[in-house]
């Protein structure tokens, strides 16, 4: 993330969360936190505990932030700064589950909205190394049709969290639970078809080191505790596994098919 990008992100984040922002310059700002953000970002549980117990008026914190090191005042925010990471986790935590509706303009007649399930997440390849691969899959809970890159199809439309007037939702034929299963099955298949050389290499390294370990302790009749420890460490280090981590997901009630665009 570039500094300008971070700056935009911060402004969106704080205004989205109802904070008053005073911009001192394009790269520095004063933010008056809300109670919720103060609790989430300022790490002062004792203060809040005290205020709540005593029923006092909280003195909400103000953050002074800058994204350009040359700016005089404020805490420098960059991609690695702990403050930003706290904001990141807050953002991710707040956006995990959703239920969204296509805003169909009222035209006098009732319009059916078809349910879709979407899962966004990453495939985590894990051994002594780690890499992640992104996925976003949508599944029609009526027809079972599956769409890749679902999020990029819906992201620029202005979906609503409540059902528009003159609309009704179709009851899913596929329950969300089995929808999740279907998407997982699909991912399992894709993963199985992949080349897992990384895992083979990791196993190979593991076997080699385990063999060395055996040789090292070959002469000892009774193995010392360190033997088991080291063995477990080596296995823990190299053993390959794959994890399906879900970032977020939701049920989308759409009138139009995602590939054709929305109202």
């Amino acid at each position: 993330m570039q500094q300008t990008e971070i700056c935009t992100f911060l402004k969106t984040f704080f205004s989205e969360n109802g904070c008053a922002i005073t911009e001192n310059s394009p790269y520095s700002m004063q933010v008056q936190l809300t109670e919720e953000l103060d609790k989430a970002l300022m790490n002062r549980p004792f203060y809040w505990h005290y205020i709540e117990k005593m029923g006092g008026q909280p003195n909400l914190a103000t953050l002074s932030l800058k994204t350009d090191p040359k700016e005089e005042e404020g805490e420098l925010i960059h991609f690695g700064s702990p403050r930003l990471h706290k904001i990141f986790s807050y953002v991710i935590e707040k956006g995990r589950f959703g239920q969204f509706f296509e805003p169909v303009p009222p035209e006098g007649k009732t319009v059916p909205l078809k349910p879709w399930l979407c899962l966004n997440g990453k495939i985590v390849y894990h051994c002594h190394q780690k890499k992640e691969e992104f996925f976003s899959i949508g599944l029609s809970l009526i027809t079972g049709e599956m769409l890749k890159e679902f999020h990029s199809l819906v992201k620029s439309s202005s979906l609503k969290v409540s059902i528009p007037d003159f609309c009704f939702t179709l009851t899913p034929l596929i329950k969300p639970g089995s929808g999740i299963d279907r998407i997982h099955q699909y991912l399992f298949h894709t993963i199985e078809k992949e080349n897992h050389q990384w895992a083979e290499e990791a196993m190979c390294k593991m076997d080699k080191e385990l063999a060395l370990l055996e040789r090292f302790y070959a002469g000892t009749t009774e193995k010392p505790p360190s033997y088991e420890k080291e063995k477990a460490s080596i296995t823990g280090l190299y053993a390959p596994s794959i994890q399906l981590d879900i970032i977020n997901g939701g049920i989308f009630y759409l009138h139009n098919h995602p590939l054709t665009g929305f109202s």
């Binding site: 991609f79 966004n120 190394q129 780690k130 992640e132 691969e133 060395l212 360190s226 460490s233």
Partner: protein
């Protein structure tokens, strides 16, 4: 092969709850922002280092970046970081740790550092890497604190050790790891029993004396990598398979040398300051020298030679140092005869009548010749000298603080701070050489010379390291026409220790073994019958050392 696939069951469960409206749902904006944020933080491949992107304020040198990359990608996070003193091994370790933390491969970390460096480790990890490292407190919370910094002496204590051994650490970092060279020590056993996936061993001197030390270090990292001990000794110890060993070591050890890095280092300005004994001092020195012959006649053991040698060296340092040795010898009744005993007692009396030590006078003269309050670190080998110097400088209105390896961590920190803020002089004994960073000072006085040349290097490394902005002035004091003079002229100067950049020397010593040199020196000084014999033998020794170096050089050019 197909690795097992795990699903995110927690999310699935919570999602179902959310749909039943038992949990709040996100707004469309929140949902989108979460998605974008997660995508920005993705780790898209195995190899590229993510950490530097998150540390824009950190100036990384190329060799440090390369070291981290190599330790992670080629050595699988189990490596010995053996850069020369002052090149920033801590930075490399911090970078590696950060990378693993960003990748989510490391969460639980134990860092074992010398007591005097614990605070500094914490400060650096927090300020430079935003790693929330915590210093161990009186009541350490091994289980609850994720990144704990402590000293090995604390960690290995019974009650702590039992808890630590039951924790699955993702990473263990050990600073000054050469202290683990002896596999019989409790420290070594303890480290061996800590469960660790990734492991970094930091040391500037992976081999201090014997090759087997390296064997034990590597066995902590990768047991069996160099075979078992017996096989290792049989195969490598004699040096025939040196190339092979070198190659194996390079796969687990990263070693950057100062002269290989493309940086402008502050210079080292070395100056030898001759000190002359006044006639009264000279008389006593002669008296000590004559002891050698006498003791030889009295009892024919080489042991006597060593004692005299010690006395000679001590006398070049301070009266107090000799006095303590004499006193001990007399008290322990080690003397073979009453006559010898009397001889020692006489000598103690004559010591009492001597004025201040000429070396101490010289130190005073040096300090007074500088600008007011110019800070200096004085290194000495002897505790007695340390005390004497502190008293002596105090008499002349110069504030000094002592520093010893045996100090508790808090005391070391305190002394360092006192030195930085209030005292002009820090007087360190040998043990104080390690584990303290004094970049804010740029003068060193080597009050007496250690015989292990690596120790000189470690002393200088306390100041001449990353972060030092000025040139470092180094003064060697040596008393003319004494044993010190011999060491200085015939050995140190010849092998170019002072002028040469660090690295060349430890190159030679790695092959030659610095212990070797030390024992040669001891035997030369204690056994030689005459001045001439001593000179010839020393010449011989230095030419052997030089020969090794030349051979190395031709080898390299071929």
């Amino acid at each position: 092969m197909q690795p097992p696939i795990l699903t995110d069951n927690k999310w699935i469960e919570e999602f179902t709850e959310a749909l039943n409206l038992q949990k709040p749902l996100s707004s469309w904006k929140q949902y989108n922002m979460a998605f974008e944020t997660a995508q920005k933080n993705m780790i898209s491949d195995f190899q590229t280092l993510e950490a530097p992107k998150q540390l824009p304020q950190l100036t990384l040198h190329d060799y440090q970046y390369d070291a981290a990359r190599k330790a992670i990608n080629e050595m699988n996070g189990r490596a010995i970081l053996a850069d020369e003193v002052g090149l920033g091994k801590t930075i490399e370790a911090g970078l590696i740790l950060k990378e693993y933390m960003i990748r989510g491969l490391v969460k639980k970390v134990l860092i074992l550092a010398p007591a005097s460096l614990v605070t500094q480790w914490c400060a650096e990890l927090n300020s430079k890497f935003y790693i929330p490292a915590v210093e161990q407190r009186k009541k350490p919370q091994w289980e609850t604190v994720d990144i704990m910094v402590t000293s090995i002496d604390t960690a290995k204590r019974g009650n702590h050790a039992e808890i630590i051994k039951n924790i699955d650490y993702d990473m263990v970092i050990i600073d000054e790891a050469h202290k683990l060279k002896n596999k019989k020590t409790r420290n070594y056993q303890f480290v061996r029993e800590v469960k660790k996936k990734f492991c970094l061993l930091l040391t500037a001197t992976p081999v201090q004396n014997k090759l087997s030390e390296l064997f034990h270090l590597i066995s902590l990292l990768k047991p069996g990598y160099l075979g078992d001990e017996e096989a290792f000794n049989d195969y490598f110890q004699r040096g025939e398979h040196y190339g092979e060993l070198q190659e194996l070591i390079q796969k687990v050890m990263i070693r950057n040398r100062r002269d290989e890095t493309d940086m402008d280092w502050p210079k080292r300005i070395v100056q030898t300051v001759p000190v002359r004994f006044s006639s009264d001092y000279h008389t006593v020195y002669e008296q000590i020298c004559r002891l050698k012959q006498k003791m030889k006649e009295e009892y024919h053991s080489p042991q006597s030679g060593f004692l005299v040698l010690t006395l000679q060296r001590e006398f070049c340092s301070s009266r107090e140092a000799v006095f303590m040795t004499l006193k001990n010898a007399v008290e322990k009744r080690e003397m073979p005869s009453e006559q010898m005993n009397q001889e020692f007692l006489n000598m103690m009396t004559s010591l009492n009548h001597l004025p201040s030590h000429p070396k101490a006078d010289k130190v005073l003269e040096l300090i007074n010749s500088w600008e007011k309050d110019e800070k200096v670190v004085i290194f000495t080998e002897y505790r007695a000298t340390q005390l004497y110097l502190q008293w002596f400088l105090g008499q002349h209105g110069i504030r000094s603080v002592p520093f010893r390896g045996g100090f508790k961590r808090s005391k070391k920190d305190w002394m360092r701070q006192l030195f930085q803020n209030q005292a002009q002089v820090l007087i360190a004994t040998e043990a104080g050489g390690e584990g303290i960073n004094l970049q804010f000072c740029h003068r060193i006085i080597n009050y007496d010379l250690p015989w292990n040349p690596m120790r000189i290097e470690q002393r200088i490394g306390r100041l001449h390291r990353l972060g030092q902005e000025k040139d470092v002035n180094i003064y060697h004091l040596a008393v003319e026409n004494t044993i010190e003079d011999h060491i200085l002229k015939l050995l140190y100067k010849k092998i170019g220790l002072f002028e040469g950049v660090i690295g060349e020397l430890d190159h030679i010593l790695e092959k030659f073994g610095s212990n070797h040199i030390q024992s040669h020196l001891s035997s030369i000084f204690s056994q030689s019958e005459s001045e001439g014999e001593m000179r010839i033998k020393l010449d011989h020794l230095s030419s052997i050392v030089l020969e090794e170096e030349k051979e190395e050089a031709t080898h390299a050019t071929n």
